[in-house]
Amino acid sequence: MSQDIIMNPDGTQEYFINMGPQHPSTHGVLRLVLTLDGEIIEKVEPHLGYIHRSIEKMCEKDNYRQIIHLTDRMDYLSAHMNNHAVCLAIENGLSVEVPERAVVIRTIMDELTRISSHTLWWGVMGMDLGAITSFLYGFRDHEHITEIFEETCGARLTMNYNVPGGVMFDLHPDFVKKTKAFLADFKTKLPEYDTLLSNNVIFLERTKGVGILTKEMAISYGVTGPAGRASGFASDVRKHEPYSKYPNVDFKEILYTEGDTFSRYKARIDEMWESIKIIEQLIDVIPEGDFVAKTRNVIKLPKGEFYQKVETARGELGVFIVSDGKMQPYRMKFRSPGFSNLSALNEMAKGGKIADLVATMSTLDLVVPDIDR
């Protein structure tokens, strides 16, 4: 560190603490340098790049089919949505019509991913604040979805299930039955989440009024997803720029106005209920037919620019493809939600305590590979 140490008039001095890269609550290799006055945080400065793989550079050397599997490795808890975003951008460029069956499957998969990501987040959030039980509860429910994914996609984490034109395989024969069983079970489990944390006095004390982000700041920093909506920034891509089956399903955009850690927490809990609602509307009406449209083996996008947004579990993911008509994109940019959400951390944590920073960071739900790319 090259900063000069500033002496206060009373002889005390501010000091720096490294939080991470191995700190358990940074959820990966993220390093934060905290400037402290006693226990009060004056500044949080993220240092990134520990798992920077330059996916954008790799994309310039790969063809369009190969790119999709790289996106699994960005926000690995939203793997389906990441694949979905790239596929939509490519399909948009090729003007391919995706079969109705694939559209519905994709939407169901996205929402299952959202639930699985949020259950994991909920468990980890509890653990960050010192409650180990929630971690076990969260993983219990997360596991059911992972099994459903494994049956259909053949993988548990990096599914790589979407392909340009549809999905890679048809649904497993047990998919509908198992998903319904999961939803029925999860609807009895979700109230447990509230009993354990949402109505817990210690938890409320640690989260209410902590880490406040105003709506204006959320927009300026581009904080999207549940974190942005907790500040009142209506940024749900599924509502405002709908894609796939979202225009035809009925669900609420969760909005809070407080912008504190607790409302970010509540936004995600409520979102899980909405996801259940969406899946229930679709699971009985999966149309028969093809699950993938015929596309050429070698995909060449026409010259031009393609931008596609999707709503991942963390917020707005943007895929920006600049094509010069070749097999590979000329330039590919991923606007990852975690990157922008992290940038607002300083704004939220300033003036608070280190323990509050842990709670605030939990509700941002950072996935470091998504930030570093």
Partner: protein, 154 residues
């Protein structure tokens, strides 16, 4: 605001802006390098446009210039627009920062500085973001050579 309304409004304010609609789902507005701050300020603050949410900031390395790309959206009105700036100087690309208008630009511009080497004038903290300080070159430039890690398909 529709694209036609955008064009007439912006042309009124800045006669030297150029507009392209082909090859993109957004309206692309090309502005001269030294006007970017002024244009962005107007687009953000004016009641008709209110483009207060920057959802993407990036750079593209074309053979003869760098192109800065700013994707803007209005959180109130929902319309979108892309601002583009040509940076002709490939040796030493420079542009005014938009940090004061859009806080999200702070990290995004550091990323562009790190990976493209574009300098942002008046940026409060312009350092490399992902790579180490002693890294040589800017990897997302097309002329970047790394024989060990980059394997070409051809």
């Amino acid at each position: 605001m529709t694209n036609e309304e955008f064009i007439s409004t912006i042309q009124n304010w800045f006669p030297d802006a150029e507009f392209i609609e082909e090859g993109s789902q957004f309206l692309n507005v090309f502005v001269p390098k030294d006007k970017i701050l002024e244009v962005a300020k107007k687009l953000k603050s004016d009641n008709a446009t209110q483009l207060d949410y920057m959802f993407n900031l990036t750079c593209v390395d074309w053979p003869d210039h760098f192109q800065m790309v700013y994707h803007l959206k209005s959180s109130e009105l929902g319309h979108m627009l892309v601002l583009k700036v040509k940076l002709e100087n490939k040796e030493n690309p420079e542009i005014e920062t938009l940090c004061d208008l859009y806080r999200t630009a702070e990290l995004h511009e550091r990323e562009v500085y790190d990976l493209f080497g574009v300098k942002f004038i008046n940026h409060p903290d312009l350092r490399r973001l992902f790579l180490t300080d002693d890294w040589i070159g800017h990897p997302l430039r097309k002329d970047y050579v790394d024989e060990i890690n980059i394997v070409s398909l051809k």
